[in-house]
């Protein structure tokens, strides 16, 4: 769904009044949300309504968002550690070859 920038401009300031569903949709699409609690506060909605709305419009719930973030972090950590291990392996390999080289020179 493409969002008309004019619609965003028309959005009321947070906590001024209860958001309609369309406004909420545009709000979430453009601003995202930190937590369901925070979103409920911004939209002046109940937490339950927020949850239901997120599911209905296929937004990630807070838990799903957390899991995604963790996965991204984990995959970053994993790839960093793989890089470290492979770098270490290469360094070890090079070290071993260089030790071997020095061993030959000392023959």
């Amino acid at each position: 769904m493409e969002i008309d920038p004019k619609l965003i401009e028309m959005l009321p300031r947070e906590n001024e009044r209860i958001f309609t569903e369309v406004e909420a949709y545009i709000y979430i699409k453009t601003k995202g949300f930190k937590s369901e609690n925070n979103l409920a506060k911004c939209l002046s909605w109940s937490r339950r309504k927020v949850k239901k709305f997120l599911k209905l419009h296929n937004f990630c719930t807070e838990n799903e968002q957390k899991m995604n973030n963790e996965n991204v972090e984990n995959s970053t950590v994993y790839s960093e550690s793989v890089q470290k291990v492979s770098k270490k392996r290469t360094e070890n390999g090079q070290d071993k070859k260089q030790d071997g080289m020095l061993g030959i020179l000392n023959m």
Binding site: K96, K97, Q98, G100
Partner: protein
């Protein structure tokens, strides 16, 4: 300048890709260089032609070869545009001769200066640092593996060394390089076709074929000799090394490149090393960089 120089019996090579035959002869008075392709070398008041024709050395004692000084200095001078070149070089000797010849070859150059002229341009080579490394082992340092047997086939020697986890654990040198094979093939062809072929001619004939009295002749038997020679080399190596269980069998040297197709029939997992003729020189340069950079 750090340079790896592989002064082979057949060719002198450096890691920058300079290659010429390891032979020299006195230059004749009023000699004309029709193709402007000869390397004219002035050395201790005499004029020589390097890399064309002449007698090659027939033993593995490189530290005492009379042509070693001129060939090594020619290789450096060809590489440098400076009038005075401060050289740090790594040279090679057959691996079985390493302990015996290492210091002798080092002392032949280290701390000394030589004057040489190449094609009329006078140069001074100052040997700041000299190291010696075994042939075959040099080639290992151009490959990205830790466990391998390297088979380095040169003109006179076949150097074989086994590396486990990056360290050298066994080595042998066999005097079965391609010169012996070329002599056999030249003898066979001269006998069969009444030709006057020399050892140096054989490699080109094996590559391009032979014409006698304007007719292409069948030299299939020469190919059989080549195959038989390879089998002999591999059989000898198999007595000393376990080629079956080692993960990498790397083939190096100009002879290695030439005989690779026959080697592959004997050792299916053999691999031709990158730039096989220059592999030792490139490996020697890596040793130099490790020591002096």
């Amino acid at each position: 300048m750090i340079l790896g120089i592989d002064k082979g019996t057949a060719f002198t090579k450096n890691n920058k890709g300079e290659i010429f035959k390891s032979v020299l002869r006195r230059e004749k008075i009023n000699e004309i260089d029709l193709n402007n392709s000869l390397i004219h070398v002035g050395w201790e008041g005499e004029n020589y032609i390097v890399g064309e024709n002449g007698q090659y050395e027939t033993n593995l004692d490189k530290a005492h070869h009379s042509n070693t000084d001129i060939l090594v200095c020619t290789s450096i001078a060809m590489q440098s545009s400076e009038q005075v070149t401060k050289a740090k070089i790594v040279l090679g000797v057959p691996i079985a001769e390493y302990k015996k010849q290492k210091e002798m070859l080092k002392n032949r150059f280290k701390g000394k200066s030589f004057q040489i002229s190449i094609n009329g341009i006078s140069k001074i080579i100052v040997f700041e640092e000299v190291e010696v490394f075994p042939e075959g082992a040099g080639a290992f340092y151009t490959a990205d593996v830790l466990d391998a047997i390297v088979i380095d086939i040169g003109g006179l020697s076949v150097d074989v060394c086994s590396f486990q986890n990056g360290g050298l654990n066994h080595f042998e040198t066999y005097e079965q390089g391609t010169f012996r094979l070329n002599a056999e093939i030249a003898g066979y062809l001269n006998n069969r076709f009444s030709t006057k072929l020399r050892q140096w001619d054989i490699e080109m004939i094996m590559d391009k074929g032979l014409s006698v009295d304007g007719q292409r002749v069948n030299i299939e038997s020469a190919y059989e000799l080549e195959k038989f020679h390879t089998e002999k080399i591999i059989n000898d190596i198999k007595l000393d090394f376990d080629l079956k269980t080692v993960p990498n069998v790397l083939i190096a040297g100009g002879g290695g490149a030439r005989l690779y197709k026959h080697i592959k029939e004997q050792i299916s997992h053999a691999k031709l090393i990158d730039d096989p003729q220059l592999a030792n020189a490139k490996g020697f340069a890596k040793v130099g960089e490790k020591l002096w950079k």
